[in-house]
């Protein structure tokens, strides 16, 4: 298995404030890494560094062994794709037009999308089950449909690393499940890696291959679910009481939150 991303001794400070400190990890192809942590712990900052938007104060980021900071914006977007939290499109593009925007880093100057680009768009829209939506306005789509179109756009970039910032927030359980299933399918089919910032403890344990727990800009724990998602770590991370056991059907880690007044404090 090939290594897609390596992060070495990464720190990011804003003035005297360290938002991220001493972070090391790597992601292999065909795997999903979940980044967990409370709000304000630096997760989104980390994603923006991995997409070359913020420059780390210290340390290095390599995508396919290329140092990210030496690349131009357009080169980065052929390697790294981001699915952000786009809730509303100011102007109404069709789903197909949105997916074709993913071809931007591959097109020169005035060049318009040609046969190859349309073929690619069709392929990724089939993969994400969005082809039937191609002529619909993006603003008319449901949250789950819109998220799938944005994933299709990221796939159209043909990037090796896909970053997703809370892709399942605001979605109902069915759509949440769909998005995680889709991700796990595409990373295997396309041999790419994905990093998902999420608060979804229930689904991430079933679909993600490794975990990075970040608290106050520092790594609390990293590794496979069974190793790092312990009662103690989750308590430390979110301050919540939980029961951690095994899901009897999927045999993956199962995390159940216990409210304080029902005895969560003791757990």
């Amino acid at each position: 298995m090939g290594e897609i991303l390596r992060v070495r001794d990464l720190s990011f400070s804003y003035g005297d404030n360290f938002l991220l400190e001493g972070i090391n990890f790597a992601v292999e192809e065909a795997t999903i890494l979940a980044v967990l942590g409370p709000n304000g712990s630096g997760k989104t900052t980390l994603l923006k560094i991995l997409d070359g938007i913020h420059r780390p104060s210290k340390g290095e980021v390599f995508v396919l062994s290329k140092p990210l900071w030496k690349l131009k914006r357009r080169e980065i977007s052929r390697l790294v794709a981001m699915v952000g939290q786009e809730s509303h499109f100011g102007f109404s593009f069709t789903a197909l037009e949105v997916v074709l925007m993913g071809r931007f880093p591959h097109l020169k100057g005035l060049q318009m999308e040609g046969k190859k680009d349309l073929q690619k768009a069709k392929e990724v829209m089939e993969l994400t089950d969005t082809l039937h939506l191609k002529n619909r306005s993006i603003n008319e789509l449901s949250g789950g449909e819109k998220q799938r179109v944005l994933i299709a756009r990221a796939l159209a970039q043909e990037a090796k690393l896909m970053l997703l910032d809370e892709p399942t927030s605001f979605l109902d359980p069915k759509y949440k499940m769909e998005i995680f299933s889709l991700l796990s399918k595409v990373v295997k089919e396309k041999k790419i890696a994905a990093i998902v910032v999420t608060h979804d403890l229930e689904l991430s344990t079933q679909f993600c291959d490794s975990f990075l727990l970040i608290k106050s800009g520092q790594v609390l724990a990293q590794g496979r679910a069974e190793e790092v998602l312990t009662q103690e770590n989750i308590k430390e991370l979110y301050g919540c009481g939980t029961i951690v056991d095994e899901n009897p059907i999927t045999k993956t880690v199962r995390i159940t939150l216990i409210p304080k007044h029902l005895g969560g404090k003791r757990c």
């Binding site: 997409d51 938007i53 914006r73 357009r74 080169e75 980065i76 977007s77 052929r78 794709a81 981001m82 952000g84 786009e86 509303h88 499109f89 100011g90 102007f91 109404s92 593009f93 069709t94 197909l96 037009e97 949105v98 074709l100 925007m101 993913g102 931007f104 880093p105 097109l107 100057g109 005035l110 318009m112 999308e113 040609g114 349309l118 768009a121 069709k122 082809l131 191609k134 306005s137 603003n139 970039q157």
Partner: protein, 343 residues
């Protein structure tokens, strides 16, 4: 299973749109030549065009020294204002943006008035000062509006309205207190007036506009993505800051150059791109040429109405565009808010 998917846009489609709009513009120009306070029958116009008439004939004077330059200038102004509208709407991600509403036109007017007061030449001083004024006002508007929630918020529009009102007042102050006859009439600055149109400004305005709009066109894919969001544009490989500032400066320059000769004309940049977006969708590769040419057509018609509707008197053209544009603006604001959804 569908076999193939259709490209939403092809070079052929763009060329066809440009061709159709150019033909429509040409037709409008010819038809509007016939209209006017002094009746010139079509038969006479044709014989003039075929050069069978005495060149000293008053009809020839009217046609070539009054009507034609005015119509061509109206087309030039409409082209620039609608182009400015479509670019500002994309850069600010707001369908209500337009050079007049954002205060860019009045900024240009302010610069031009200052240049005229200092007696700087019309060929260089005035357009350069108009450009500086336009740039300064859009930067002010963006700085006021950008404070908290990015450029999508309606604060940008509000700050545009305020800057616009302030600069219009400053222009009026200069004109009122100055005995200088070079300052032209109040009406010219307040509502735009094309009646003094000459050929010579067009000899440089037209090439500047054509080159400028081609340069802007090379950014049309960038603009598409920026309308989705500045962060998204970064993710997709657009050099966002460079694109935004370069285009804002370029458009301010174009608007500045035109406004110093036309006065302040509102709502063209709002109406035209909006109507065309309903027809062609949001892709700037079609929207930019269609809006610029559509703006030219709209302006020629508006000015023809302005010079004929209360004949033998005439209205400033800005009155006509405001009559059409203001209710439209309110309609948009009520039905869609500051956001845009294709109907």
């Amino acid at each position: 299973m569908e076999s193939e998917i259709q490209a939403p846009i092809t070079p052929k489609k763009v060329l066809v749109v440009i061709l159709i709009f150019s033909l429509a513009l040409f037709t409008t120009i010819v038809v509007c030549l016939f209209w006017g306070t002094a009746p010139i029958p079509p038969k006479e116009i044709f014989s003039i065009l075929l050069q069978k008439q005495n060149p000293k004939d008053p009809s020839i004077q009217i046609l070539f020294n009054l009507r034609l330059p005015r119509i061509l200038f109206a087309a030039t102004v409409g082209y620039a204002l609608a182009l400015g509208g479509v670019v500002f709407q994309a850069l600010l991600r707001n369908p209500l943006a337009d050079p007049f509403i954002l205060g860019v036109s009045s900024g240009a007017g302010f610069g031009a008035v200052v240049a005229i007061m200092f007696g700087l030449g019309f060929h260089f001083g005035v357009p350069i000062f108009a450009f500086l004024g336009a740039t300064l006002s859009i930067i002010t508007v963006m700085l006021i509006g950008k404070k908290e929630m990015g450029t999508e918020s309606s604060t940008i529009l509000l700050s545009g309205v305020i800057v616009n009102a302030f600069l219009t007042a400053v222009i009026m102050f200069f004109i009122s207190t100055s005995p200088d006859s070079r300052l032209h009439s109040m009406l010219f600055w307040l509502y735009g007036d094309l009646s003094q149109a000459k050929y010579w400004p067009m000899s440089f305005l037209v090439p500047i506009l054509l080159i400028g709009s081609f340069v802007i066109y090379t950014y049309s894919k960038h603009l598409n993505i920026i309308t989705v969001g500045e962060d998204v544009a970064l993710y997709l490989g657009v050099d966002v800051q460079k694109t935004i500032w370069f285009n804002i400066l370029l458009v301010s320059f174009l608007i500045g150059a035109v406004v110093s000769f036309s006065g302040l004309i509102g709502f063209v940049g709002l109406l035209v791109p909006h109507l065309l977006r309903m027809i062609f969708g949001a892709d700037h590769r079609i929207l930019i040429p269609a809006s610029a040419l559509g703006g030219a057509i709209f302006m020629v018609i508006a000015d023809t109405i302005a010079r004929t509707i209360i004949s033998p008197n005439e209205l400033p053209v800005g009155v006509v565009t405001a009559f059409a544009g203001a209710p439209f603006f309110i309609y948009l604001l009520k039905t869609r808010g500051s956001r845009w959804v294709r109907s």
